[in-house]
């Protein structure tokens, strides 16, 4: 299992991550390790700092203080914010995925489904149309989009299909780490459940590591092994997901859990 003794060590290590926006705290002094194959949920309400933390981790925002190290494919831990632009962008389009809450932010809406999925392949040098299309069609199947939609653009897709397309677009290069920002937000409840099942299956099949930001404890429960609970920019509780949700220690976590159980 994962743990300090596991082979190769953690995939990602964050320490002292702090982000100020002027005087205002985005997040403060956050540290954790993410292990290969592990799914970490960052849970909190809006304004808790969870999205700021995610953006720092995914190098979309530069933290005010702190270090984020990532184990590159060559096995070396690198300081993410010390990577060159070229290294960072290569990492983002090959070894990482980023699933946005709103698929419009993660898709090219005027490009066909096949082109959306194929873009990363073309970005890393694939130059055979037939192979690209075949791989794209295969990935559409894996996210339950019919092969005959491969030439349609996502403007004609439902919200759930768009989100699944965004996931396929991210996974096609075999990333080791996927960031997800409220991946089921904005979807109908029944659609959410189907997407969560799909995500859970993919993460397990592919042995992906993932960092999932959500306000929804059900998402954390279904997807994650471990969770951080954030409030006011700080982590107020962390642990194995089942333990935190079944036996919350912090008063705030207890409140969150009890509010969901009342429904």
């Amino acid at each position: 299992m994962t743990g300090p003794g596991a082979k190769g060590g953690p995939l990602l290590r964050a320490s002292g991550i702090t982000k100020f926006y002027g005087d205002r705290v985005g997040c403060r002094d956050i540290g954790f390790e993410l292990w290969p194959g592990e799914v970490l949920a960052i849970v909190g309400e809006s304004g808790s700092g969870k999205t700021t933390l995610l953006n720092c981790l995914a190098t979309r925002v530069v933290p005010t203080a702190g270090v984020i190290e990532y184990r590159m494919r060559d096995g070396r831990m690198r300081d993410l914010h010390a990577l060159s632009d070229a290294e960072r962008r290569l990492l983002m389009r090959t070894d990482w995925g980023f699933v946005h809450q709103n698929p419009i932010d993660g898709l090219r809406m005027t490009v066909s489904a096949g082109g959306n999925v194929g873009e990363r392949l073309m970005a890393v040098g694939e130059r055979h149309y037939g192979h690209i299309r075949e791989t794209a069609t295969d990935w559409l199947g894996r996210v339950e989009i019919a092969a005959d939609r491969v030439d349609d653009d996502p403007r004609s897709f439902s919200g759930g299909m768009r989100q699944r397309l965004q996931i396929a677009r991210n996974l096609v290069t075999g990333p080791r780490l996927v960031f997800m920002d409220e991946p089921t937000g904005g979807l109908d409840v029944s659609v959410q459940a189907r997407l969560l099942d799909l995500l859970r299956g993919l993460v397990a099949d592919l042995g992906l590591s993932a960092i999932v930001v959500t306000h929804d404890l059900a998402v954390a429960r279904l997807l994650s092994h471990r969770m951080l609970v954030m409030k006011g920019g700080e982590v107020i509780e962390e642990g194995l997901t089942d333990q935190v949700l079944d036996d919350p220690q912090a008063a705030y976590t207890q409140l969150l859990v009890s509010s969901i159980l009342q429904v």
Partner: protein
């Protein structure tokens, strides 16, 4: 307007030096878009102000200028740009490709192969080949800097997905010297192979967008494609109706009110030369199509 009212070739010497510096940088980094401080010209954007500024910066009193628009020397645009340089610089002009030292063009590369020492100046409306899918300039600049050109292939992929083949026929993207992806301006892809290892210097000026780029002589210019959908040029079913030329780019011309049409050389000078040399097409001897260009064949500076 008289020549005396202007500096030679309209632009002041300081502006020319600024443009020449941009041109030199462009030649040093083939295919790279160099920003320059585009000046107001006595013609609106869209009328070749970028090309005109490049030509004005490089032309000298001994040069012989040819100006073509869609392959023709006698369109309004070509005539007015040629007139502009006659008035402001007094240089000799010609319609003959092989007699020109500087050729300013919009939309075509002459059929007659260019030679060492010649300079082809393109008028460019939109210099950024990545813009169609990535409108943010900060992002396209980064993509060029990091050689991230996957997006260009997404465009070609979309062509094939929608049309079964690469349907892009104009402004077909090329990679220059194995490094920068470049928009060849709205020339037909038919002309792309002419850019490859051309002995002539090729300069591109975009006035509204304030960019200059270049292909030095003998530089590799490769059209982007897929292994299973290789680049190919347009082919025409029949030769030029006037001069019988094959393997040239043809324009469709409506010949009468009854919808009659024919295909003729887009490069009007090339067609003239061939007919003068005795080549005939199926409609050789047809009257209307020749007049002005032939008459202007050796327009003089005065």
């Amino acid at each position: 307007m008289s020549a005396g009212a202007y500096n030679f070739a309209y632009l002041d010497e300081q502006t020319k030096r600024m443009i020449r510096r941009a041109i030199l940088k462009a030649i040093a980094i083939p295919g790279y878009q160099v920003p320059f401080a585009s000046r107001e010209m006595p013609m609106p954007y869209g009328w070749g102000t970028g090309g005109v500024q490049v030509t004005a910066a490089i032309i000298g009193p001994d040069d012989v200028l040819k100006v073509i628009d869609q392959g023709s020397d006698d369109t309004t645009n070509a005539v007015s740009i040629r007139g502009f340089f006659v008035k402001t610089s007094g240089v000799a002009t010609t319609t003959r490709t092989d007699a020109a030292t500087v050729i300013q063009t919009r939309h075509r590369i002459p059929e007659t192969p260019l030679a060492a020492g010649q300079i082809l100046v393109y008028q460019v409306p939109i210099p950024e080949p990545l813009r169609f899918l990535e409108p943010r300039e900060t992002e396209t600049r980064t993509m060029h800097a990091l050689e991230e050109y996957g997006l260009m292939h997404v465009k070609l992929y979309e062509d094939i997905a929608r049309h079964g083949h690469i349907a892009t026929t104009y402004a077909y993207p090329v990679k220059v010297a194995g490094r920068y992806v470049m928009d060849p301006s709205p020339t037909p892809k038919f002309d792309n192979p002419k850019m490859h290892r051309s002995p002539a210097l090729q300069l591109f000026g975009a006035g509204r967008e304030k960019r200059i780029y270049a292909i030095p002589p003998h530089t590799d210019v490769v059209s982007l494609d897929f292994e299973d959908h290789p680049f190919s040029v347009q082919e025409f079913d029949a030769p030029c109706a006037l001069c019988g030329a094959e393997g040239v780019f043809l324009d469709e011309v409506i010949v009468d009110d009854a919808g009659g049409r024919m295909f003729v050389c887009s490069d009007s000078d090339h067609c003239e030369e061939r007919r003068a040399a005795g080549h005939e097409g199926t409609l050789a001897g047809a009257p209307a199509w020749s007049g002005a260009a032939a008459a202007a064949a050796t327009e003089d500076a005065s």
